[in-house]
Symmetry: D2
Subunit: 332 residues, 4 copies
């Protein structure tokens, strides 16, 4: 059985287990422990500039806390119409932003350009009868597994600045984007104000990081984290996961492995690919009959509408599984 | 160094580590995994009646999700003026209940009687200008380490029913109460509608259970858990912690150990005790000078106002530490 | 100067002034006065079945209070993508529904059919990751001035019932729809659970009525009205407006006058009409040059996109203004 | 029958009727009309400094919109334990502030001093587990009819500034305070950031003013007013009421009349007075038997607990009613 359902249920990397066990001695509760206290510095190193960072149990919560720094309850957040915050977070943004509105933009491969966003914003009358945008949220890599280039991010940053909007990055698969792009983490986040730095899909257990490039926002985020019931007592086990992920660039190593598996499969898909494969997800045109064939060969994956399938690779996808899937698709 | 600061930062019980590692194989994400699916049945066994149960990362979130089943946004929840939900949850109830009000009652040792609650409710005019109560929240064991007897719970249940109010139990230290009372878990929860079943202070890492004695409420709670950003991807590690705690009554074994340590110390405190010791917390009258003496002997604890100290024992408090503290207090 | 900008700024009908002055003697505050107390009975007469009714200062608030009876904070409300609640209420539904989501459907002339709604609902997975619909909101007459027929409403009622959804009617121009349809008020509201009964655009000053066809919802609505800061001290002036509107069917008389003026103009528009004129609004294809001609002749109206204009008639639109506009359009 | 129940149901001053009728001609909707546009300037004159002002239908909404400029959802507002916002607004602050907390202070005659507020604030730990105060709300005249002197306001302003807190004044009976104090309106509002300027109890029908002494807050307040469903279509009738109240200082004339009637009665109460009479409310110690006597003589008023009564005079309380009540009390 070869699983390509999702990276979100993959097992936990051994180094994270080791780190959690190493943290299993008494320390201060909440985020007062020695490990949690190092997160700001550790992420400042990773991004080459001063930032603040906290642990948080889910990407949904990370995204919401970040957006709360930039969108008031009466405002709106522009995002792609297929963005995770719109489609798969159970209304969490509406909750954490106290009724603020998600304003849906269209864009190729679930990425947004300034023009895509302007198409949403420009028709909004500048009066109190219409909700005004306060922020933009983008996803790196996007929900279709595509990565923003530094130039694209710079353009979005300029646009956001010109319009007075905050810019948030949902980085559930940020590691995969960095690994694909090949540049620095700073290049892959560009001028974003906040980043939900994903660990869980990348071999983590239960901790993501929320990075604020304006450290002055850390205070607000910490109050809101507590208020959301997300300030865990034993925060050192959360911090340990994140720090282990950063140590020796394990996060990039894992992401490269997942991306390599995806690339292996992609090479066999040719015209079947619906989107460029720039991370660890593949959206592949496959008829119902073809999907049945693959499933009969032991491959597990989700249908994507009526005529396609989604395959996701993970940090621990066996190379032979990827090769086998590639062959199977090529043989259809 | 003997630590009596809090049980909330104690290390994780080895059996929970084992259970989490045992869960470290692929399964469905969220709460679709095999372990999470057993929680309803497992808690139904524990309480001897049909109930529904979910994992959730903090007691704060557990309390809030429970209260959301019984209090509408325009209503109120009666709780003790020193209840954790009022004093130490950073306004989370106001957030999760969308602005509902906590209505503060006085009561001995942070416990409430029907008369205590009536003293809050009776002056409220039955009109739309005043917030009406929708629910009651009690804590077992209480914030001062005192346990409700079955008869007390029955009286609260009748009162709640007569007034048309929901009844929630914050059971951050429910295990300690059950261990102290010596009866069944069902006896210790009485007629409550919901229970935040604490694990973390009792040797857990990052999972509490929320138990709904009306299983019909499970649906609402699951939507709200997701909306709160609390539906973790890899729920099997959460479920594993809880199930390990229940297996072979580890939860009661741990609680008995903590209670025994507390009892050891209590026996030395005599008239110094501010509240009966009916769980694993002690509130002890000690002058500043006396506290300084204890600290000089290596004991760690929190001050409780100007003239007292709080000592908390944990599942793994060494017997010799408790004995030493008892002796030290007796010698003051 | 002939104004066709909107009915929402028209002057107040003299009979309403008289009624307000007649109410200008001491009585109980809020809605304890004699007039407010008659609203339930008066609307029960109008609709031929038992209902509850309250006054409320705006249609926005009326819609929101109604929706709060049928949509929980984690749910959604399906409405037309150009519905007033989505486009022109400044995010009030998000506020009053505590973050619930508006789910946008497409439909001809801003009306919705069961198929239009199903197109939104059917792709939603039945899991906690996606917001589930709790209610449907329709507008009678629609935002494009079109009226639902009784058969259309019956079909929507059956659909809503089958899907377990509440059904709300925004009746900002309900009077115009009743006047157009020619049947009873009950026919025009069909099986809706709640109705925001508009008065203000129809010659009122500052009071709409919210009608609940399940009187058991009145209690909730009254608490939420107060909580929204909408329970005015001197409610008798609010009730007086509504009662005067109902007396002798003034509401229908006013609506018929507005509709007649619209019909007069419509007759001159022919193929220019973008939507059937079934109330008091006209959406007319007119080039920029044509609009300039009309404006130079003293007609005031809003542009509707680049190639059209919106004309709205009111209870007091002078017949000669309508005739003049009709002639002017015919002469273009 | 002499009514001393409340000023909140008094009839509307004839000059306000005249002003509303005078506004009954076409103009722009919402607050785009000529009258609404003058409010900023008119209030800037009244207070002798630049401010922004809007109309709003209730004091509850005015208070809530004001507090929303100074308190974030995770913060708190310190107010007197008997403040109207705590006791009589149906939870509206919790709604408009998205779950923020009212933090209750004790203070003589429902007034607060810096020491009263410090007694609430000082025990709050400076950590995320406890809700931190963001603002203070005081009431002028207080809920017990007592007025803050300029020196008292200055002290509160300094305290608020030192603690980084906003300062709001609920001025439901601000006119009565200004009339009592005898100084300028600016003296009576002191260094407050916002003022809910009451008109309705003082002879208005349905409009209060919200004054922001930092005009930069006007934008936020306007978006929130709309979002609360409080932006009425025909705002000119709202503005007309307020402007008529200000014209020729009608507001002070009305308040002086009400205060004079209260003073007349107060002079007969002697030791029976529970609070100084510094506006238009009297809280008078009267046994049940004494209250029965007064009621048998045709006086209407509310009981205040078991041993007292509340009398409220209004702008139109007949002088002979006040004299008669004074005599009746003196004769008890």
């Amino acid at each position: 059985m070869s699983k390509f359902l999702s990276d979100n249920a993959a097992t936990v990397h051994p180094k994270l287990w080791d780190a959690m066990r190493a943290a299993d001695s008494p320390d201060l509760p909440y985020d007062g422990d020695a490990l949690s206290q190092t997160l700001d510095d550790r992420f400042s190193e990773v991004f080459g500039r001063e930032c603040a960072a906290i642990w948080i149990a889910t990407g949904t919560a990370a995204n919401c806390l970040a957006l709360a720094t930039m969108c008031q309850p009466h405002g709106g957040v522009v995002c792609h119409e297929e963005a995770h915050i719109e489609v798969d977070e159970g209304g969490a943004p509406g909750f954490y932003l106290h009724g603020a509105k998600l304003m849906l933009a269209e864009g190729k491969s679930a990425k947004l350009t300034p023009a895509d966003i302007a198409a949403v914003l420009d028709p909004i009358r500048d009066d109190v009868h219409q909700v005004q945008a306060h922020a933009i949220s983008i996803t790196q890599a996007s929900e279709y597994g595509c990565s923003y280039r530094p130039g694209e991010l710079a353009a979005l940053g300029e646009f956001a600045k010109a319009r007075g909007l905050g810019l948030h990055m949902d980085g559930a698969r940020f590691a995969n984007a960095v690994a694909f792009l090949g540049g620095s983490p700073a290049d892959a986040v560009g001028p974003c104000d906040t980043l939900a730095f994903g660990c869980i899909k990348n071999g983590g257990m239960s901790a993501e990081a929320l990075v604020m490039f304006d450290p002055a926002q850390a205070d607000l985020v910490k109050y809101r984290r507590k208020r959301g019931g997300h300030l865990q007592c034993k925060g050192r086990y959360q911090a340990a996961q994140i720090l282990a992920m950063l140590d020796g660039d394990l996060w990039l190593e894992n992401a490269r492995a997942a991306n390599a598996a995806a690339a292996e499969i992609a090479a066999a898909c040719g015209e079947r690919l619906m989107h460029p494969v720039e991370a660890n997800e593949l959206f592949v045109r496959l008829s119902a009959a073809e999907r049945a064939v693959l499933r009969s060969q032991g491959f597990e994956f989700y249908d994507w509408g009526d005529d396609a399938a989604r395959f996701v690779t993970a940090w621990n996808t066996p190379q032979e599984h990827a090769v086998a899937l590639a062959k199977a698709i090529a043989s259809l």
